[in-house]
Symmetry: C2
Subunit: 178 residues, 2 copies
């Protein structure tokens, strides 16, 4: 991931080949392709992990947890993908995606997948629709807002803390809507 | 749109050319390209109109309207894109998109654009973030749910009515989340 982002940033996403990424990461090409379908997937591999963490976090919440408490569990589980040592990669990743419409499309679909995974996990806990869908969208919005803060070099808080704050802010905002 | 969907359904999206769509619609190719960048855009042209209708609907809400009342105005404005005479196209369109990952990506990005347009329009009314983002996501979720009912041949209600019901259901569900 770091090798790919360094190259994308230095010479452009379009000009970077899989061979260059593999070489910089100290992998041969076949090892690269065992982990990633193509260079685009290097940017989105964490998304598949996240989807599973969201689902597992919701499933692991106590039986008495409200839908939003279960979503808080999903966001806490997601923090595993945001170690402090990789925080400097976040703004680079955002910049590459922002510059390429086809990467934005992939990002949008991955986010839709987050909501679908959270919705299914909430339904499996017995949360009816549309409450499950709504809690999931709220969770994805909290995740996106925490993610934006995480990518801001001026921000020093852990992802876990950012996600917690973000969900609380959304909960407070929800009572001002009608 | 009908010409394109008929061809996509009959012979497959991948096997259909712009020339065939134009011929069936009684257009020459240059007229086609004045309206659509490529065959993919035939499926998504309404999305750009919708984005504007959402923004205009929110802007046109009375000054005293709550964020969700303004969102209801956005959904009511969107009904213009869902005339009863074109209802039979909706399941065809969904089937084509469901069968093509690259069309799903485009669809996901367009939906992200809906939320962004609604958020900006709400902020322009003085709704602070994250309330504006949250109301917008709720609006997009209501829109998607109404859209799914609209594409169900068993459903007979107008889009306007479906959107109104969907938003009310989400509002009722929101108080069950925590």
């Amino acid at each position: 991931m770091r090798a790919a982002l360094d190259l994308f940033t230095a010479q452009g996403y379009d000009n970077t080949t899989v061979a260059e990424i593999a070489e910089r990461a100290g992998l041969n090409k076949s090892t690269f392709f065992r982990h990633f379908r193509d260079k685009r997937e290097v940017l989105f591999a964490a998304q598949d992990v996240l989807r599973q963490l969201f689902a597992d976090g919701i499933a692991a919440a106590p039986a008495a947890a409200t839908p939003l408490e279960a979503v808080a569990g999903a966001l806490a589980a997601a923090a595993a993908v945001f170690p402090p040592g990789q925080r400097d990669l976040a703004p680079q990743r955002r910049a590459v995606i922002a510059a390429h419409p086809e990467l934005q499309e992939r990002e949008a679909l991955k986010r839709a997948g987050f909501a679908a995974a959270m919705t299914a996990a909430l339904q499996a806990r017995g949360v009816p629709d549309p409450a499950a869908s709504l809690a999931a969208e709220l969770g994805v919005l909290a995740f996106r807002r925490a993610n934006a803060c995480w990518a801001d070099p001026a921000n020093q808080e852990s992802f876990d803390e950012l996600a917690r704050q973000s969900l609380q802010e959304l909960q407070a905002a929800s009572i001002t809507l009608s």
